[in-house]
Symmetry: C2
Subunit: 642 residues, 2 copies
């Protein structure tokens, strides 16, 4: 690893990055970021670059064959469009959850059931086959995960999806109107008004890209009229309840433990359309939403609608919310182009990372409430600390012991800083030293998270750094590299690098959940499927004109129908119910040359519809290994010539 | 883990499985397979069920952060339609290689370049978006891998694809005519005639499903007229050179080190259409192809063609090849419904597993040549050993030290057996004990492979068992389970279970390659792309009627065009060249609401074409994290109303 530093090692490195410095990053500057383990900066707490687990501790984090991991990692999958489940500390990937993508293994995007969730165009084609899942967060009860639901957003096509915690399958997708580039998402943690409702009932999503409202071809050349909306979905129905029109572009979303506040960090409050304009102002903001007031306004009819959408939209722009006592929003100024906003597990603070400033801004929620009550002079007074922590701070996680861990994209480090020390320093205590440890990561960390760190049960065991570059960390596999998920033991005073786990681009963000929280089912209930072929003997073929429906059952090693005939040109629907009851005894159903494959789990029913446009013999076969006679498990589809 | 055994523990367990026994497997019988670690069978070499690495050895197989793995695992991905690269011993997944599937991360199935490889229908839609990749094997030189190419077959839609070893991307896909259900594939290891050509020039694929020839709607009710073809592709051009019409259904394919023979194990030589018919005969076969003779026959015009296909088809059915001296094929009888045929690294034998027989049949290649020379009485005389090894033997791998390792699907074990001892026993030596070790795996192993085991450089370090059920081995994630790849250290006398690696269904098969064999490139050559936008200043918009072409470049943190305008209804093509040269500095390009995303690696060019059917502002954005100003990296597409 290289010790070189290409950027001048002058004090200005620790102040705001100017426009020219960042332009420089486009060329040589970025190489700095990409240079491996750099020398410690002379920080009082800087540690030797190595930082990896010592030889003696190897095996300590092993999960031997037959043993289970301690945590689930539920991960968004970025532009793979999927979500994923890993184990921790092993880093083993247990499942891909297809969401916005097409997955021909499971039949996601192929079965009628998944198409109904994904949505289709008038011609029956899928509305979208791409997605960019950014953030996944779980439902809460009493301030911690209840394992019931997970929500994930699609930045590419402005959608929010829900994944069930019992089956780890996506059950609903909502197209959110009037927005482009959903970046952040977060469920609420309890009701803003009713103290009896101490669980998740709403999901918030922030839009990043400002667009004409409505985006129908009008105002395309008038960027000053572009706008961004913050959306609230009902956690149960997944309908969009309301939207708030705000200034600036929103990234991440955080919610308070009291249920009353949601927030999003914002860049481009300049409303610029070029990147240098987007970073021209010295400060952007973290915008807070007063949920109860917004819902009162909606109830009172103080909203508009946009274009053909019927979703109520309230005006949360700064100019219209100058009076704190009636304001729906509170814009807390933070250094420009921040990235990431995260809630501390004690419920007191949100941390907003500087990105282009070497700082994190700590915002005290009690002071935000105070501002909304008209008792604070300026929004900026909500900031209670702003420690200098390193270059390119993006996301912050917490250990539940009063420390924060922030990813430093440019420094390729994780910095551990103490919240109380940061507050003392901000108050003028020059002896306070917020930064208590640093560790090099490899390379360019984006998101970071701690085990249970988004809950009141933050346990301070592990921090995971989601690194955007892996370069030389794995065997080379061509120009496209894996990303690196680096696992760090944070249980002691010093951070210890435990493992490099590669991930197919891009895991983006994840949460680490204690394994006892998750309660899955292993077998479906046949009654949950209205079209189940409950008795294999009820297998049949129904014809209605040129529409043919095949009711089929599977039980290893055979399908209930050994052959079936349809006519060329028929529209064929096949319902398949898996009668096997043994856990893990999933069957597949592939139709050669007809581009169809899907799996049916034990006691599950799925269906496909296709046009029998090719005459001949087609051996439908079991694609999911099931039995010693798996290969012999077939059904012969005969498409007779018209 | 349970000790129970549900099947009666009588001697008949060790003889052929009858029709009724297998029918039973459909119900309770399969549960036997699913029962965990069973009692050792009293075999002389049976070892305690545990077999896992001892606590003391934990950490021995660790790959600590910053260290590289010793081997590449190149894996087929089953009905996920993709291939994958893992590291060994870590089990870490470094890359997914999209092949027959759609991958919205990389843009596979979305870019024009990938669509050209995948093939499209007249309406521009992809011909197929599903696939069932079964077997992946690498190109050979001097009897070992040269790392140049890998070939993988699609069982679902009868295709063969090639993956380049320098970029690990698919560069060609061939639709193979006249076949259904390609199961096995294998490249040749040298030329059958020219001794100077000691590298791969042909790829063989065996079809499993018998269909009317041609499959155009005729003869659908005449199964006796159905047939299967064995295909030969040119390794370089990927064109189909010839096909052989055979009896029976083909599974796996193996090739000899002398280049002269290819073989496929066959079930359903009965030509049955129901599974009980497919297992009615006591013997099926391993069919050998005399490559030189087949190519002579083709050259001599002794072939037919089928339907609209122009591929020469020779007749390799048994009845037409009764005279060994002119035969194109040699059907070596083996116990019924065998599964798997594998070449020993010494070049002498092919092992064919019994599946429904508890045996493996060892076929000596010199004797097959002898049969083709008319010097052997019967084809069955090619079998030189048939040891009883356990229930449900499927695939065999080798350690280069004279031992074979066979997966036992029903026993959920790997059995290690000695080739010489098996031959001695077959000759009548009652003291010979072929089976030297057994280890339980979890559960139901399909494919198994050893490091470098398919080459003359078999090193006998590791065996990997690809298990079809994982049941209780990982944290539960709902009804759909991962599969288990279990890594076993075979370097000593006793097999040692090292790790459980989960895999998204289904890895199917893989090969383990020493890391020095693989030579990848990290950055593309811009000149390789005819449409490269070589100078960012040459970025431009060209209009031809309603066809608009955008020539765009990317360089962190910006696209060369900050905005571009098209008109509603235009057919828009975007060429994007990534000018970044730093390894791992990949950019993405996503167009919101237009269902487009793809990545461009350093110095690479890709393109997409779409209809601008929605007016408004669409912020094309970088989807692949690249730079501190990644979020600000956008280009504004304005679609003006007509």
């Amino acid at each position: 690893m290289s010790d070189q530093e290409l950027l001048p090692h002058d004090p200005s490195r620790r102040s705001f990055l100017g426009k020219s410095a960042l332009a420089g990053l486009a060329g040589a500057g970025l190489s700095v970021g990409l240079a491996a383990c750099k020398k410690p900066e002379g920080d009082n707490a800087a540690k030797p670059a190595a930082g990896a687990a010592s030889a003696a501790s190897h095996g300590k984090y092993d999960v031997p064959p037959g043993q289970l991991d301690d945590y689930y990692i539920i991960s968004s999958g970025g532009h793979s469009g999927e979500c994923r489940i890993y184990g921790l500390p092993s880093g083993r990937e247990f499942k891909r959850i297809p969401v916005f993508n097409i997955d021909c293994m499971s039949g996601w995007g192929i079965t009628n059931e998944s198409k109904a969730i994904l949505g289709t165009r008038p011609d029956g084609q899928l509305k979208f086959k791409t997605g960019d899942t950014h953030h996944i967060h779980g439902s809460y009860k009493d301030g911690t995960y209840d394992g019931k639901f997970f929500w994930v957003n699609d930045k590419l096509n402005a959608r929010v999806a829900r994944v069930r915690g019992d089956t780890f399958e996506c059950d609903k997708i909502t197209d959110v109107p009037n927005v482009q580039g959903h970046h952040g998402i977060f469920p609420d943690k309890r009701d803003p008004v009713d103290p009896a409702i101490n669980y998740t009932t709403r999901v918030f999503a922030g839009a990043e890209f400002h667009i004409p409202l409505p985006n129908n071809g009008a105002d395309v050349d008038a960027p000053e009229k572009y706008g961004c909306l913050f959306s609230c979905l009902d956690a149960e129905t997944m309908e969009v309840r309301w939207q708030v029109h705000v200034d600036g572009n929103m990234d991440l979303v955080a919610t308070s433990y009291d249920g009353k506040l949601a927030a999003s960090n914002q860049y481009n409050t300049e409303n610029g359309i070029h990147y240098e304009d987007m970073m021209s102002a010295e400060r952007d903001a973290c915008v807070f939403f007063n949920i109860a007031r917004i819902e009162e306004a909606v109830k009172a009819g103080k909203f508009t609608t946009i274009g053909t959408s019927k979703v109520p939209v309230v005006d949360g722009r700064a100019a219209k919310n100058a009076d704190p006592k009636t304001a729906l929003t509170c814009y807390v100024p933070v250094p420009k182009n921040p990235h990431g906003v995260n809630a501390s597990p004690d419920g007191k603070y949100f941390a907003c990372s500087g990105k282009l400033s070497p700082t994190a801004s700590l915002i005290e929620l009690a002071l935000v409430h105070k501002w909304f009550d008209g008792e604070l002079k300026t929004q900026r007074d909500c900031v209670v600390a702003e420690p200098e922590i390193g270059l390119g701070p993006l996301h912050t996680a917490f250990d539940g012991r009063g420390n924060a861990y922030t990813t430093l994209f440019l420094d390729s480090q994780i910095v551990k800083w103490n919240i109380d020390a940061a507050i003392k320093q901000f108050k003028g205590d020059k002896t306070a030293q917020p930064v208590v440890d640093r560790i090099d990561v490899h390379y360019q960390p984006g998101h970071g998270w701690t085990t249970m760190g988004e809950t009141k049960e933050a346990d301070g065991k592990f921090f995971n750094s989601g690194n955007k570059f892996s370069k030389d960390r794995f065997l080379p596999v061509g120009p496209l590299h894996a990303e690196t998920e680096q696992l760090i033991d944070i249980s002691g005073d010093k951070m210890v690098l435990v493992a490099d786990h590669p991930a197919y681009s891009e895991p983006h963000d994840a949460i680490g959940i204690r394994r006892d929280v998750i309660k899955t089912r292993q077998v479906y209930n046949m009654d949950d499927f209205p079209n189940a072929v409950k008795d294999p003997k009820s297998q049949r073929i129904e014809r209605n004109g040129n529409k043919v429906t095949i009711y089929l059952a599977s039980q290893a090693p055979a399908y209930s129908m050994r052959e079936f005939k349809v006519k060329q040109g028929d529209e064929v629907t096949i319902f398949l119910t898996n009668h096997d009851k043994v856990e893990d005894l999933t069957h597949g159903f592939g139709i050669p040359m007809y581009d169809i494959n899907f799996v049916v789990n034990p006691q599950e029913t799925k269906s496909v519809t296709f046009k029998a446009d090719k005459p001949g013999v087609f051996w439908c076969y079991c694609t999911h290994f099931c039995h010693a006679l798996h290969l012999e498990m077939r059904s012969r589809m005969i498409v007779e010539r018209r």
